[in-house]
Subunit: 375 residues, 2 copies
Amino acid sequence: MTEFIPPGTRWFDLPSPFAMKRGGVLHGARLAYETWGRLNAARDNAILILTGLSPNAHVAANADNPGPGWWESMLGPGKPIDSTRWFVICANSLGGCKGSTGPASLDPATGDSYRLNFPELAVEDIAQSAHALVRGLGIERLAATIGCSMGGMSALAYSALHPGATRAMVNISGAVQSLPFSIAIRSLQREAIRLDPHWNEGRYDEQSYPEHGMRMARKLGVITYRSSLEWSGRFGRVRLDGEAREGEDPFGLEFQVESYLEGHARRFVRQFDPNCYLYLSRSMDWFDLAEYGHGDADAALRAIAANGALENALSIGVETDILFPLQQQEQIADGLRAGGAKASFAPLPSPQGHDAFLVDIARFGPVVGEFLGGL
Amino acid sequence: MTEFIPPGTRWFDLPSPFAMKRGGVLHGARLAYETWGRLNAARDNAILILTGLSPNAHVAANADNPGPGWWESMLGPGKPIDSTRWFVICANSLGGCKGSTGPASLDPATGDSYRLNFPELAVEDIAQSAHALVRGLGIERLAATIGCSMGGMSALAYSALHPGATRAMVNISGAVQSLPFSIAIRSLQREAIRLDPHWNEGRYDEQSYPEHGMRMARKLGVITYRSSLEWSGRFGRVRLDGEAREGEDPFGLEFQVESYLEGHARRFVRQFDPNCYLYLSRSMDWFDLAEYGHGDADAALRAIAANGALENALSIGVETDILFPLQQQEQIADGLRAGGAKASFAPLPSPQGHDAFLVDIARFGPVVGEFLGGL
């Protein structure tokens, strides 16, 4: 899986054994990470970015890898996350396949890939491993966490598990728990992979690979990451021209939107490990911040901010998000504010749905930049 | 496929050959239909119900089949569609598998099932065949068409192809054309079926059947037929109890919403012919009322109502519908009104999404009943 790892990646060895929330331990596990900017003498200018399900650690160009990253317009000198002021850290999530230890990694106990022998993954494990990295870099307290999508859950877990470990939080299109609609979508994505005969209970290889299942899962993901509104404006009912059509097949690609999904699927299928996808996907279903509030997620949010443990927070959401709908981001802001944080809620009218933070930099950039500038 | 046909079904022989919109003809084709109430002497009390993708013709109990139908609470003596006043007709859609001729039927030319040799199906073919049935029953002009979901498209096609053939129209969760989001969902459903090795280019049988593909397609359908709001209230994050869980499998059924989808899928998979599903599904992508307005769907709506051809119309939609969103039903009412019909738009706050008309009879019943009562 080395082809998934960007050049310039650094590694951090996690404490060994590393205990997982739902049971089991990892031996010799590590995180792939990158940094931007410089840690100041007071060690109080560090920002940790917690990612969505699939990204690698290469958020943006840096000295080790000048190639553009997945959030290139957001991070760098003079950009909303300004690397001339902040020391920024991002790790590939534990359980992922972009350098950090996950189901596709070698199990030192067997010398073979973990596959389904990897212990069950929780969002809390991602948060705990990131916290170990931050401490390993000599940082006692972060200036801010920035979590997007699944990373928004990781950011909440980070603060719930380590009160006061960050002074501020930017929670983007996040949630305290998954709604049944989102669980249903992800359950279907996993089923598509698991029903592919080539998945073979996780024992696939490059030659016999669950390509069909991954394609279905990715297409369903893209459908729910974007919005009906955006696609109506972008694709309408435009047909592909003759050459791009699949001959006379009445069920072949005919509409532009079908070709768009096909392109997304093709680009993703061999770039992401199917077992890692299953593990990360399920971790989002399981996450429930209410566990830290005696069954009450709002109480857990208040606890995160209690006694000045979290000073500032910004929760951003998008009206067209069907996967993490807007009321979930409002809940985060309301709960943190009720706990004592200076917390604001920024609902944005982006048409791009859940993925808007990746593409609608014109709206997200100023909101994030202003918040960080005010810290 | 005879097990799909309810008892008491009647058959109507379509003109032979029956020409299909996109090319090809059917020989010896027929529609399965049922009726309720009695046609009056003036033959002006007939209502035609045009269904969504999957229903059979058994809308409600009648003399031939006292078993409950799929819209039992809506149709019958004293019900919103009052069979003591109206003579009500419903056919299984052409191309379907509940008695009417479709891809699962025998091709008289070969003696074998049509399968993918069935000609391409258009919504207009469904409307034309229904119109032939209505004329065959001796009815010159309908009192009303009632079309739900795909049937809303069929109702528009019916009026566009035969101006004045109905005095009124109830269009429920319908649309003048499919949005790219809906096309994307349906494209993925079809892909799930077509990628199932047991689909075998349409040459499956009971022993080797694309069960996995149909299951995926159905689950995705159910996800988009309902709404996130409804499921949050209905399922929340409730887990299945131990017995219903799939052992220790971390990817097995665990949340109630997953079990709900599984149940829906199991009930559907062997009750609907996969090739019929593909044909009906694609017909919805292709339908575009704009063809009847020189590329302008609003002009086509106006034309439907022009010169008193359509007198009264009611377009009902639901706020939580993500497949046929509310603005599409508003467009229908606005266009018909602009053409001269007395047309009203009824947006309902049902939480059940696209499928609300099937389950939220408390809201739909009075609206439909009042409209029909005023005719």
